[in-house]
Every structure is written in C-alpha cells, then in structure tokens.
Symmetry: D2
Subunit: 389 residues, 4 copies
Amino acid sequence: MADQRTGLWLIGARGSVATTAVSGLLALRAGLAPPTGCVTARPELAEVDLPSWDDLVVGGHDVVTTCLEKRAEQLAHAGVLPHHLLPSLVDGLAAVDAEVREGYHPATHRGAQATAAQRLTADLVSFRERHDLARVVVVNVSSTEPPVPHLPEHDDLALLEAALADPERAVLPPSSLTAYAALRAGCPFVDFTPSTGVALPALHQLAVDLGLPYAGRDGKTGETLLRTVLAPMFTARGLRVRSWSGTNLLGGGDGATLEDPEHAASKLESKARGLAALLGEPVTAPLHIDNVPDLGEQKTAWDHVSFEGFLGARMSLQFTWTGLDSSLAAPLVLDLARLVAAAHADGQSGALGALAFFFKDPLGHDEHRFAEQTRDLHAWARELGRYGA
Amino acid sequence: MADQRTGLWLIGARGSVATTAVSGLLALRAGLAPPTGCVTARPELAEVDLPSWDDLVVGGHDVVTTCLEKRAEQLAHAGVLPHHLLPSLVDGLAAVDAEVREGYHPATHRGAQATAAQRLTADLVSFRERHDLARVVVVNVSSTEPPVPHLPEHDDLALLEAALADPERAVLPPSSLTAYAALRAGCPFVDFTPSTGVALPALHQLAVDLGLPYAGRDGKTGETLLRTVLAPMFTARGLRVRSWSGTNLLGGGDGATLEDPEHAASKLESKARGLAALLGEPVTAPLHIDNVPDLGEQKTAWDHVSFEGFLGARMSLQFTWTGLDSSLAAPLVLDLARLVAAAHADGQSGALGALAFFFKDPLGHDEHRFAEQTRDLHAWARELGRYGA
Amino acid sequence: MADQRTGLWLIGARGSVATTAVSGLLALRAGLAPPTGCVTARPELAEVDLPSWDDLVVGGHDVVTTCLEKRAEQLAHAGVLPHHLLPSLVDGLAAVDAEVREGYHPATHRGAQATAAQRLTADLVSFRERHDLARVVVVNVSSTEPPVPHLPEHDDLALLEAALADPERAVLPPSSLTAYAALRAGCPFVDFTPSTGVALPALHQLAVDLGLPYAGRDGKTGETLLRTVLAPMFTARGLRVRSWSGTNLLGGGDGATLEDPEHAASKLESKARGLAALLGEPVTAPLHIDNVPDLGEQKTAWDHVSFEGFLGARMSLQFTWTGLDSSLAAPLVLDLARLVAAAHADGQSGALGALAFFFKDPLGHDEHRFAEQTRDLHAWARELGRYGA
Amino acid sequence: MADQRTGLWLIGARGSVATTAVSGLLALRAGLAPPTGCVTARPELAEVDLPSWDDLVVGGHDVVTTCLEKRAEQLAHAGVLPHHLLPSLVDGLAAVDAEVREGYHPATHRGAQATAAQRLTADLVSFRERHDLARVVVVNVSSTEPPVPHLPEHDDLALLEAALADPERAVLPPSSLTAYAALRAGCPFVDFTPSTGVALPALHQLAVDLGLPYAGRDGKTGETLLRTVLAPMFTARGLRVRSWSGTNLLGGGDGATLEDPEHAASKLESKARGLAALLGEPVTAPLHIDNVPDLGEQKTAWDHVSFEGFLGARMSLQFTWTGLDSSLAAPLVLDLARLVAAAHADGQSGALGALAFFFKDPLGHDEHRFAEQTRDLHAWARELGRYGA
Ligand SMILES: NC(=O)c1ccc[n+]([C@@H]2O[C@H](COP(=O)([O-])OP(=O)(O)OC[C@H]3O[C@@H](n4cnc5c(N)ncnc54)[C@H](O)[C@@H]3O)[C@@H](O)[C@H]2O)c1
Ligand SMILES: NC(=O)c1ccc[n+]([C@@H]2O[C@H](COP(=O)([O-])OP(=O)(O)OC[C@H]3O[C@@H](n4cnc5c(N)ncnc54)[C@H](O)[C@@H]3O)[C@@H](O)[C@H]2O)c1
Ligand SMILES: NC(=O)c1ccc[n+]([C@@H]2O[C@H](COP(=O)([O-])OP(=O)(O)OC[C@H]3O[C@@H](n4cnc5c(N)ncnc54)[C@H](O)[C@@H]3O)[C@@H](O)[C@H]2O)c1
Ligand SMILES: NC(=O)c1ccc[n+]([C@@H]2O[C@H](COP(=O)([O-])OP(=O)(O)OC[C@H]3O[C@@H](n4cnc5c(N)ncnc54)[C@H](O)[C@@H]3O)[C@@H](O)[C@H]2O)c1
Ligand code: NA
Ligand code: NA
C-alpha cells in the first residue's frame, strides 16, 4: 500500500501531541531527524507494507485558534522540539494549519448533535477528496474528557441515531460524537486519549457494519508503560507485589485538564484496571495525578512497589520516570496512522486488539503485558497485506 | 520423576544463599511458608514432573565451620529469615549441617589438584549412596572468584587431566575443580556464581561425554534482572538509550568479597556483556559495586538511564532496587535443583540454554531479554519428560 | 533538678510511639542501648540539669486494652524493636501497663465533658501522689483527630467551662479535653500530634494563669524535618523553588487513621503552613498521605522539588526517606518530657517556643528553619535552671 | 565602594562556568533577567556596599580560542542559557572575548615559570590600567588539576621564587602559578576549583605580606551543598549515620577532565574531608564521579545515606540532584567577585574564612555546616566597610 496517499486527521490538531507529531513528520520527510521513537521504523517491521512519511497528508479539528507555528515555538521553548529545526518547519506547519477545521465544542454548539456530526463528516470527506487520498485515519489527541454515565442509547445504533437527532439532547460526549462522524465518513478511528470515543457498543456495531477498523485507547507513554513491563517480572518470578503506589506530576495542557478530578477519573480508572489485570490480584495502589504547571511538558512519575519474597522477606522497587510526554506520544501517533491505514487497506474491521502495545486500556484485547503485546504486534504486522487488497 | 529422592549438593553450603535455601526448604516441607519466589511453583509449571520438596535431600561443601543453625540466626537478625520460624527449623538445619564436608581451598591444599577432586567426588558418591538418591544436583553458591587467565589446558580434556595430576600446578580455579569433581561423580552442575565453574571447553566436553546437563551462570536477582526487563522496552519502542549508569551497594559476605576489585571484575564483566547484548549497541555504562557493611544482607542498586526520543528529546529513568539478595537467590537455587534434576532424568546433556531466565550470563543461550527467557523456560519445561526416561 | 522523680503520662499509652518510648526508656535505664536519636543526650545539652532516665516514671491513658507487652512484640515483628531485647523488657512493660487508665472516648462517654475531665484529672493527681513525683508531664501521642470548627467557647475560659458543664454538648475534641484536664491537674502538656490539643486561646489562658508550660505540635520526624532543612538552602542560595510535591506512604495505626481524609486534613494543613513560611512565597505543593498497610511501621516519603536558577535554568531535587516513624518519634517524646519538666521546674509558663525544633507546626514561635530552631533550642536549654527554682 | 569600577579576571574565561557568568552579568546589566541564584542579591545582604553589576569589567586567561559567542551558543543548546537571550548578548560577549589573553599552559611553555608569571601579571596590570579599575579580582574557573606532591619550596616564599627562576623546573602547578602572578599584580584571588591554587604556605605568606585577601576553594554547587545541609540534621537529632554513598554523573568539560582518576582525586579528597568533619566520625563513604558525555552540562548526583535510630532501627535517605552545574556556579562567581572586592577595599588580607559558604573545601575556616556558614557570611558582610577605606 506504499504510494497510496493517506490522510491523518487529528482531533485536537493544535495540541502538544499533535503539534509534535506534525513537526516530526515534516522533519522526517525532510531527512532532518531519524525516526527515533517510531515503532514502525524498527527492523522487526521493516517488511510491512505501510504508507511512507511522504504518503501522509495531515489535517484536523480543534477548538482553539493558536496556530501550529506558534505552538511549535512554545514546544521548542519547553524542550520538546529542537530550536534549530523550527525555521525548516514553518512552511509545512502553516500548510497543515490551513487544513485545521473548527471542532465540535459542546458548550458552543446549538441544536441536534446529528447536525454537528454531519459537519465533521463533511470536513473529512472534503479533505479526502481535495487531496485525493486512498483513506483518512482519524486520531483523537484532544483533551481528556470526564467519564460519562452509560445510557441505553450507547448500546444500540438505532436508539443512538434517534437521540442524536433530538435537538434537546447531547447523548454523546465530544470524543464519541467525533468517532461517530469519522465512521460515517468511512474513516478508521484511533483513540489516543482515555475518553470514551469509539468504545461504545453502538459505535462498535457501526464500525463492523461499515467494515472499518478502530484502535484505542489512551496512549501508553510513561508510568503505565513501565508497569506493563515490570509487573510481569514479579509474576514470572513468583514474587508477591503487596502495594504499587504512584504519583504523576505534569504540567502542560494535559496537566491542567487532569487537575480536575472529574477529568482525571477516566485516566485513573484505566490505569487501575491494567495493574489489577497484570498482577492477577488487587493490591493497594494509591495513584495521584498532580498538576504542576512549572514542569511544562515534562512529566515525572514516581512509583513505589513493595513486594514480598521467600519466607516473607520485604523488598521494594522505586522508579522515577522523567519524560517529555509529547515526544513519547507523537511518534506513536504516526505509527498508529500507518498501521491502521494498512489494516483498513487489508480489509480488517472492528477493534484492532493487536495494537494493545500502544495503549493503557487496550480495546479488543485483554493482554496488558508489554512483551506479549510486542510479540502480538509483530506477528500481526507481518501478516498485514498478505491476503489483503 | 516425583517420588525419586534427589540430592541437592551446595558448594558454599554455609553461606547466606545456601542457608536461606535450606531454611526455606525445611519451612516449605513443614507447610510453614508458601513458595513465594519459587518459579517452579508458578501455575505455568504446575504440570511439569519435578522432584517435590519432600524428595530433596541436602548436603554440601564449605570451607568454614560456623554451623547452619548459627548462620540462620544471623540471617534472622539481618531480616532474611523470620525469627518465629527458627525454633521449627533447628533440627532440620542440624541434619543438613551434618552432611556438610570440607570443601577444596586452594590456600590450604597440598599436592595435585586431582587428589582434591577425587576427595570431592568421593563425598558426592557417598552422599548419593548413603541416602539412596536417584541423582545429586551440585549447585555452586560459594564466594565469587576472580576471573582466571585462559590456559590451553582449559580447552582440552586430556591436557587438563594431565595438568591436574601434576602436584606443582593448580590449573583450575576452585569452582572449576569442583565442577570437574561433580561431573566425574556423574552429577549435573549448576553455577549460581559468576566464577568460571563449568564454563571451560574441556569441562563442556566432559559433561557431554558423560551425558550430564549443566546450567549457569551468576544468578539474576537484582539490577541485572531489571535491566533485562527494561532494556527491551526501550528497544521495542525505538527509544535510544544513551547511557545506563549503575551503582550497587551491598554488605554481607558477598559485599566483602566483591570489595576486592579483582573479585568484582568477573561480576562487572558479566553485567556489561549483557547490557550491550540487550541494547544492540555499546552505551556509556559506568558500573560500581561498593561494599557497605552496615547494609548487611540488603542490596541497594541505583540505575540511571538516559535516553533519547523523537526529535532528540532527552529523558531519563531512574530506579532504586532494595532487595534481600539471599531471599531472592534461595528459591531460585531450589528451582534449579528441581529443573536440572528433571533435565538429567530426561537424558539431556550439555548447557541447558532454556534456563537463561535464571542467569546474568547465560550459558548455552544468547537470549538476555527476560520475557523471551520466560517463554523459553516455560516451553522447555512443558516438554520435559515427554520423551524422557 | 536531677534526682527529682518525674512523671511522664502518655495519652495513647498503648500506641506505637508510646510503646516504643517506654521500651526504649527501659532499655536505656538497663544500659541495654545507647541513646541514639535522643536530642537531650547530645553533647551540646550535656550540661543541662534534666531528670535522668532513672527519674522518669511512666503511666497514661488509652482507649484500647491490648497490653504493652503484646504491642512490643508486634513492634519487634515490624522491625521497630529488636527481638533480642524483649525478654529483658517484659517486666518493665507490665509495670507501666498497670499504670494505664481508660482514656476519654467521645463515642462511649455519657454526660457532661466536665465529668470526664475530672476523672482524667483525678487519674493524674493519683499517679503523682502514689509515686511521689515532683511533677508529671502529659504528652499526647494518641490518634490524630480531624480538625474541629472554631467556636466562641474556645476563646474564653469562662464560656468554655460553662459549656463543659452542659451534658448536652461536647465543646472540646478529645485532645483538648485531655489538655484541659492535664492543666487542671497542674501538669505541663505536650502535643506530639497535629490535633487541636492545647492550641486554643482559652487553654492558653488557663496554662498562663496556672503557671504551666506547654509545647507542640505534631512531632517532626520525616518529610517535614527534611523540608525545614532543605528549604533554607534554596533560600540562602537565592534559588527559586517553583514546586514542591510530596507523597507519603505509611501503614500502621497512623496510616489507617490518616486514610480518612478528614483526619488527614489537620496533618496536611500543618505541613502546608510550614512550607509556605519557609519559602517566603506560596508554591505549587501537592501533598498526599496514603495508607499502605503492608508497609507496617515504615514510612516512605518521596518529595520532588523543582527549582529555577540563574537565567531561568530548570533543575530538580528528589528525595526518598524511608523511616520507622515510631523509632524517630519515641526518643523525642522522652526528650520533651525531660525538657518540659525542667521548664516547669524553672517556672516557665505558656508556649515553649524554643522547642519548635521538635514540631511541624510549632506553637509560640514562627521559626520553621531547622538550623535556627537547633540554635534556639541549645540557647534556651543552656539558660534553663540558671535563675530557676 | 559602589561606583568603583572593578575588574573580574577569569582564569578559564572561555569555559562553561565563565561563559555563563559573563552572559548572566550582561543580562543582569541589561535588566533581561532577575538575579536568581545570586547570593549578594538576597535581602539579607541588601545593605552591604558592593560593586554593582554595572561596575564590573570582565577579562581573563584561557588556553583555547573558541570565542565566547560560540560557547554561549553551545550552552544554549545544552539548556544552560535561554535561546532568546543570545541576540542581546552577542556584542557584550565579543567585548569580553577581546579581553581574553592566552593563559599559561605547562605543556607549551618554554623557560622559567617566573617568565610566565611576569606575563600573566603584566596582563592583569594592563587590564586594570586600560580600564581604570579600582581593583581586579582574579577568579580561577579553569579545568581541575590533579593534586600535586608537596615540595619544600611550597612552604617558603624565598625558596619558591628561586625555583620559579630556574628554567629547568616547574615547581608550581598552573593554578598556583596563576595565583602567584595575581598576587604579584596586587590582585585578590579566588579559587573556585579544587586545584591547589593559592593554598600553599608560601603564597599565603605573599598574600598577607601584600595585604591581599583570597578565598577558596572548590565551588559548592551540588552533592556537597546538600551534604553540608543534611549531615547537621542527623547530628542535631542524634541519629547515627552509618554510610553515605554517592555517585555523580556528569558530562561537559568537567566530566571529561574528571574521568581521569588523577584529576578526580583532588575533587574526591575535598569531598571526603568535608563529610568526615560534618559527621564527627568516619563512615563508609564510597564516592564516584563518572563521565557520562550525553548528559552534557547536566549533573546528576545520587546519594544513599543509611542511618541508625533509637534501639538500632535502620533507616535510609536517598536523594537525586539534577543540576545544571554552570547555572549554579556562575552567579556565585559574580557574588565572589563583589564580596572579595569589598573585602579588599576594606583592607582585609589572607584567607576569607567567612566565605566558607561558597566552598566545598573552605580555606581559613573549619566550618562545613551550611546554616552556620550562612550565618557567618551574613555577619561578616554586615561588618564590611564599617571601619574600611
Ligand atoms: N502525551 C502523552 O504521552 C499522552 C499519553 C496518553 C494520552 N494522551 C492524551 O492525549 C491528549 C492530548 O494531550 P496533549 O498533551 O496534546 O494535550 P493538549 O492540551 O496540549 O492538547 C489538546 C488539544 O485538544 C483540543 N481540544 C479540546 N477539546 C476539543 C474538541 N472538542 N475538539 C477538538 N479539539 C479539542 C485543545 O484545544 C488542544 O489543542 C490528552 O487527552 C492526553 O490525555 C497523551
Ligand atoms: N544472593 C544473590 O542474589 C546472588 C546472586 C548471584 C550470585 N550470587 C553468588 O552466590 C554466591 C554466594 O553468595 P552468598 O551471599 O551466599 O555469599 P556468602 O559469602 O554468604 O557465602 C559463600 C560461602 O562459600 C563458602 N566458600 C568459599 N570458598 C569456598 C570453597 N572453595 N569451597 C566451598 N565453599 C567455599 C564460604 O565459606 C561461604 O560460606 C556468591 O558467589 C554470589 O556472588 C548470589
Ligand atoms: N510517629 C511519628 O513519627 C509521629 C510524628 C508526628 C506525630 N505523630 C502522631 O503521634 C500519634 C501516635 O502515633 P502512633 O503511630 O503511635 O499511632 P497509634 O495508632 O499506634 O497509637 C495511637 C494510640 O492512641 C490511642 N487513642 C486513640 N484515641 C484515644 C483517646 N481518645 N484517648 C487515649 N488514647 C487514645 C489508640 O488506642 C492508640 O493506642 C499520632 O497522632 C501521630 O500522628 C507521630
Ligand atoms: N560548575 C560547577 O558547579 C563547579 C563547581 C565547583 C568547581 N567547579 C570547577 O570550575 C572549573 C570550571 O568548570 P567548567 O565546567 O567551566 O569547565 P570547562 O572545562 O568548561 O572550562 C574550563 C576552562 O579552563 C580552561 N583552561 C584549562 N587550563 C587552563 C589554564 N592553564 N589557564 C587558563 N585556562 C585554562 C579551558 O580551556 C576551559 O575553557 C572546573 O575546575 C570545575 O571543577 C565547577
Ligand atoms: Na502532554
Ligand atoms: Na506511627
């Protein structure tokens, strides 16, 4: 499927992750940076038939107007982008910025959600046609939403569409409305955030009906990545984890959003689910996300694991992870665009469980162990396109 | 092979690891403790036909006379063994202590090394016969030796045996002389230390000739365990490790031994080899082992990993591991005794590469990634006895 | 004042801190342990005339019945007390346990608080008389209470005593009722907890009227100790702290109490007040106290300080403190008993600001910097008894 | 003494510390940055009569030719200087660079050391005269030297000067030759490095004879700063430190120099002296300095302190310090220039012990405790100029 021009449509296109992904793509295309952090550039995936960096065309939705060039400057100041690259990226950033359309904002929208969805769908179709793209992968990298109460309409497509048409209701959170619009435009959908997104039975049904693949959710870039790597070690060695405590300090847009306990809830829930699954039993696991604005784009996570060994011996492991979240997330966004495009070309539909590797809370797969996820990813990718279109 | 009485012969039988292993075996047998930290007690290995805790009979060599009861008291004081267990273990410890024979000490031995080897072999044969054992697995948990210069005799069994007979020479370090004696007694050999032991071409030849399996070397219980778990994460994610610095603080007998830079050398070498293999390229990797007597049996390791992500972003991971080394090592010694006994019963010979899971510097296998080692171990164990004796 | 038999009356006499203090006092008296962690044993205070270990007689109040011998065994198991000391301490612990009376418990008490106060006062007077003590210092080491709303009765002794006599009201929290009873018995009072205790204007008035000294509050034994040591460094060097984040993991009785956010509130408040005072400006300072039962008596605190240097350079300091809280607190309880007894003998009354050294939230003094507190303590102690009774 | 134009002459004027100090001075002067990290800008020193930022004129010696503008760019890339400041600093940097003269290099110098000293002295005198300066403070911020063997000539000025005149000998290390030349030019001398510098009896004599003050040595900016803050806490609380282990990871020019164990020796020695002095007894204190080039200007220090409390309880403190060394050092260099200039104006001579606050290995004072050093500094500074010129 190389040489097939492929769209990458970012929900939250002017956020940190999106801006870093776009800047990086421009740099990769210009040969100004190696693909460090890109999983699809690993030798293990070298043979897989994927869209090349040159094949990707980027657009997106956002609800703010600060342009990508400005955001890139801020990210250079924050240590995410190298200052010396900026001049070479300005034109490319402006070109992408010109493809950013106004997103759906629940606070400003008037009328039925269906109307909003139609507008979003139209944006996607227009983008695909104007650029003559084989397909467009929609990736949600917008602000994390609070968890939403489950409604009967979420389980049944007919009920859902009826509710969407009702101007008095707002039955879907923005992420799910966006997912709905993407599917209706015939686009595969990836949820890089912990928001609800496509993870509703009615939307799953729609994806399967339309033969569209989707993947999610919540990109795994820090503390959870380490947990899915370390927890299997304790298990394999028969060591009994007694408590796993964690504190995350982060600034940036994401820090501000997650400061609100309601927004943090979905993040904390997805993290807790994973840990219990990994250890096979519930352990004491206090977990905090603190907004520390002065840290900017840097995220610092401290974990303290207390475990028991032979004859009850008490031991511990602590780690401190100091990451630039957007630097970790951005290459994965590009990877997901390439892999999901290939899955679509291959005719796959529904949740792509083999992409669990990328997510804190994998859809379509119960595997949380990183090494097994790595193996699953490689095996799946090697099969891609073998019997495909 | 359950119900086959099996010997476990410990070189360094009065050391910390040995005393903890024996105490734990007694506690397991009496139902006083769960098999925490025992890999052979994991559900994944539940079906494997292994000697039971009741089937194991323990003896060993040492060069000190402090009895096991005394050593167990010291280890309780150091937090390795629980005080309340001691009274129930006293009789069992005394029984094992009665099976400890004088080891080979290069400084006190007079005459040809062959004579010493014959005595060690005789001790093993006598032990096997007196207790009517199906087999005896010899496990080296004695003090770490300095690395030895390679000699031509190490490559050729005939040359080696000629040199052993020469009263003027001491061609083998103690660990290798012991391995030689074990093989000559028809016993499988496991090297839990970084010493040379069985890892010489001439001894490999002897093991193969006699149809004996062996495994090693250097039990993986702390910093290296974590490295073999964490390094593959960076690789799988395409993140570039730039430096991996480490400091180990330890007291105890092992701390005192490794304070001597000559003795530490073999430990440091085996650690460096592993890291380079894991990362696929050499990185700056300063590494220290410090003797800090007041820490007693506790080992504290601090590692600082500096890595590079997308567009050159600089990030880091630090961890502090606080382990009780003997508590981590002892259950593995019991696991190895059971697994190597089963391999012997199964007719396997030479290096058991599938046991790489247990070792810093695996013999017979190049795999350093912990998750792959885990998979290899499980696969191998499930085959054990399938076509065996 | 040496050779004056002095009472130490512990509120919460069967808690971890109290049991450790009593065990330690017995060991010190028997010459079985050096006074490690005792500030009054430092050379700087060698000349101060204080009651000796032999002069101290201990009793107290508690609301549980588990005896001190049993509690000491639990603390040995938890690593706070050395196993080998227990046999030598059993008799002494039983003797103290025989001096423990039932404390005031708001949930079980019926009738006016004044009645309860009279009973507590009577217990103290009886103790002083039966043992022929020069004075009795009351030290509160009972469970932390939630903060209480301020009432007009707290500001005026007459109003307060009227309310205490009303059987329908419970105007004082237990710690303050206890402080009231202590003062009414003519006893100096020390609050080692963050509870309200003596820190009410009406009780201050009573202390001054009766010529009684008091000290508090909230023993400084871990994270806060470090903060009062480290924050002045940043200030003295002109470095600008931008955020100071903290997480405390603790088990034990204190962990269980503080798990309740209402109880934790007073602890968190006293910590935040201190940090702002030290840095001279408010900084982002998220702080958590997590109950991690498996840690037992061990407390682990992680702090992350982000600071700015010359030309805006961004730097950080992290620390991990792993303390046995009761081991840190107990010698200070003994120190406070000795020092406050001497202040009483010296005729001092009201808040002893010079004891700020010992507390997170010092009464009678605004100084939070540890080095200045040390100097103040030494200077004050050297003056003690110079013009005294 | 404000309004007295004052010279600051940097030995190693093109190094990281020097470049940062100069850049910062230019930024301060232009009002582009606040004096974060400058001790002389603290309110406690507000009343002291010191040269202002505008009064300082900078020149120096170095043995490399990379100009200051280039070095500043490199430091911006390394995160030490903010990118956006560079354009405003270019002219000022060029002006200072024009005042940099060739330093003394032992490997390239031919002839008697006296000749070299005369040239250095002449450079200083010319600088003072050309700029019409009231005085010039010489600050050594050049590469750390290996420790030198003590010679009889180091103790006696006459012997020393005779040896300096001998073309066959090189009796002084570069730092001491420089100090000699500075004194001969009538300039106060500050040693910010651990090199020998002015710390020889013969040079002390010369300083006193000429009525010149000096200060040193080895700027205290990281691990040692923390040690001098933390160790007194353990002491004041009667807690017994059992071991204090440290590892320093650093890149940059300093990292490369200290990789050589010979050069590191003087650094390690000065650190060890301090720790023993602080704790009052020798403790196990392994210490490492590792060159980790990829860390660039960042220094990461990990310390692990194991200590004993009441009844032998075992506890620990760890910290990780992540500093930009040059950002920490540079403002202190400016502080020292101002303070030593004032001391000179005040007529003080010999070692300025009150400046111990700034140094790992203070000359003229035995005080290592940071809080006491702070107090000494403030007290001394307040007296400055009171009876002076
Ligand atoms: N960076 C990581 O490592 C990582 C990992 C996992 C998940 N995530 C998730 O990725 C998301 C983006 O993170 P970020 O750091 O870029 O955050 P950010 O705050 O910088 O960017 C979010 C962007 O989404 C936009 N947005 C908000 N609501 C929108 C809407 N209704 N429609 C369209 N756009 C909308 C915002 O205007 C903003 O530009 C977050 O949800 C975060 O939780 C990030
Ligand atoms: N504990 C761990 O986690 C771990 C991990 C990997 C390797 N190891 C290795 O295991 C070994 C044992 O560790 P330990 O902590 O028990 O040390 P230890 O010092 O407590 O015990 C070593 C014992 O070996 C005995 N010994 C010395 N020379 C001997 C000889 N020639 N013959 C027979 N006995 C001899 C000593 O007398 C002592 O009793 C060390 O080599 C160590 O490096 C331990
Ligand atoms: N250990 C430290 O380092 C430290 C430091 C600062 C403050 N403190 C405070 O010291 C107190 C004691 O800590 P601990 O670890 O011993 O806790 P703990 O739970 O082990 O002991 C508290 C004791 O108080 C008793 N108690 C509860 N209510 C009472 C009442 N109304 N009257 C009399 N007794 C009562 C309980 O029964 C228990 O025996 C806590 O408030 C804690 O916050 C401890
Ligand atoms: N940065 C800190 O926090 C800190 C703290 C304490 C001490 N120091 C000391 O400060 C010194 C400078 O550190 P840096 O990071 O700037 O190092 P650097 O390597 O960047 O700079 C040293 C400079 O000295 C020059 N030099 C070498 N030999 C010389 C000579 N004979 N005459 C004149 N110049 C010479 C070099 O060419 C170089 O420009 C080092 O000795 C370091 O140990 C620094
Ligand atoms: Na982010
Ligand atoms: Na406690």
